[in-house]
Symmetry: C2
Subunit: 320 residues, 2 copies
């Protein structure tokens, strides 16, 4: 193990544009920068790693290498699947995430999609383009049923927002607890839901959980929304379920591979609404992420306990 | 005055397809049918007029003619502007409307439009058509301000729904009362609103109230939604406000002339979302309208006081 130089701690930032605003930490920390190609080399000299580029998988690749490792890793994202390798999970390094930034925006985005699908807005705007006046009867949202899969802060905020629109909403989580159903109830709840909303963390248990069998359980009038990681969904199975009209519609904001390339068949699946992983990203979100890290850093510097600490064996921040 | 024949009362239906389901009234009422061309001739022989064709203006035209007039007119619509002529307003005929059917659907439609505009969904779906992955930051809805113009049941339900999404919402009505602002506050509230929602009845006071001056009062980032009658809005002024970017966007579900013809310039105004007067029309709405009339008829038959009675001098059902 190389001894770290004394003095100010070293903060290594896995960069993405625009860079985080860390001016408030000037003079208190030595800030160094890495990209995917330099991360492995710089990692042994960092006390703290800020994963600002939350699309990179470089931490998973670099972490198992030689030398000391940062004592704390913060990711500017809700999900931690892109950095949690077994070696990091087994280490004493603390991992924190961006809990608190994305909940309300993602919940609003889900409400926007649910209401837009109920009111058939995509078709209305297609008709507008064709200058066609075609009145249709649409669906009420009040009184419908939703099943939110994911009992973390994002899933719970989605459920609260849908309930505010008078949607009867159930939440499914990894373990049953008050107000949260366990995985054993999932099929039954999906079978009677008008809306199935995927907002679970991506873990070995949840990868590919929305597959052909699960889409087959849903009602033909029901719709599916994924605002979690793309890996939750077997995309080919969803495309087939839509094409064969097993379900009435779907919206994906996350994909197995991002960005979606122009030749992806997903752009043109009938009844599928595609958006470029933006459900949580409201104006000012990057500044909010930067400010959140600075506040966490000041706790760390003052040796106060960190918040937003990820349970590395589960892959998310446990909570109520 | 011609004496009406004794026996069962005569219900005259101003028809539209699909016809109302009045089977429950069989044997208790003589049902006759009229269209725009026969209404004037049949009106003197009717005890009750059901304006099922709520797009027709034939009642306004036929009412001032010769002979007796129905004692009760019910319209299968929230608005009564299409039938209230001065002669009907001055008469002893009771007018009722479809209060109770459209509130929740219209409020959901407004929420759908507000969220879709905040989250830039129309552009997302344009980009999907072009197979383009283009991430944008969008707006939060929570914490924004709405001004709902119209303090009737529809306006109040819209306000309640927006408040449930944590939008700070003010209501403007004809007269100030608890929780409702008067017209004197309108410009001030519009000037600070992120969303201006038009849901007022169409009366001589409200016709053309959203004009160039009022769009000029709004913030450049604000958006306008009309789910009331088209006549509330000076359409040319709205088109100009959008084209010159005085405001950021608008959605119209009602138009001065409906249906909008293919050559209308409104289909292509930048930032304007057009929908074919369907905000209140959720699946089963016609059945609900028919059942509502049957229930009212049974009150009338039993000489119980009618509900949903329009104040003909104001042009809407007064309420809390």
């Amino acid at each position: 193990m190389t001894a770290r130089p004394p003095g100010r701690p070293t903060l290594l930032v896995l960069d993405a544009e625009p860079l985080p605003r860390l001016g408030r930490l000037t003079g208190r920390v030595r800030i160094e920068h890495a990209d995917d190609s330099t991360l492995a080399r710089r990692l042994p000299y960092a006390d703290v790693l800020l994963v600002w580029d939350f699309t990179s998988r470089a931490v998973r690749d670099a972490w198992p290498g030689e030398g000391p490792r940062p004592r704390w890793v913060h990711t500017a994202s809700a999900g931690v699947d892109h950095l949690l390798c077994p070696e990091l999970a087994a280490s004493e390094t603390v991992v924190t995430n961006a809990r608190g930034i994305f909940e309300q925006p993602v919940a609003e985005y889900v409400a926007a999609l649910v209401l837009a699908m109920a009111k058939d807005l995509p078709r209305t705007w297609d008709l507008q383009r064709e200058r066609r006046w075609w009145h249709r009867d649409t669906a009420r949202v009040a009184g419908t049923r939703a099943c939110v899969v994911g009992s973390g802060p994002i899933g719970r905020t989605i459920a609260r927002t849908l309930k505010a629109l008078d949607v009867t909403t159930s939440i499914v989580g990894r373990v049953p607890r008050t107000g949260i159903h366990g995985p054993a109830d999932l099929d039954r709840l999906m079978a009677r839901a008008d809306w199935v909303i995927a907002a679970a963390p991506l873990t070995e248990q949840t990868r590919g959980m929305f597959d052909a069998r699960r889409f087959g359980v849903m009602q033909p009038s029901a719709r599916f929304v994924n605002v979690g990681r793309g890996g939750l969904v077997v995309e080919e199975a969803l495309a087939e379920a839509l094409t064969k009209r097993w379900i009435a519609g779907a919206a994906l904001d996350g994909f197995r591979q991002e960005p979606l390339t122009p030749d992806s068949p997903l752009w043109r699946v009938p009844g599928l609404l595609v958006s470029p992983h933006m459900s949580g990203d409201t104006v000012g979100w990057r500044d909010a992420l930067g400010a959140q890290f600075v506040a966490l850093y000041e706790r760390w510097e003052a040796r106060k306990p960190l918040v937003n600490v990820v349970d590395k064996s589960r892959g998310y921040v446990p909570g109520h």
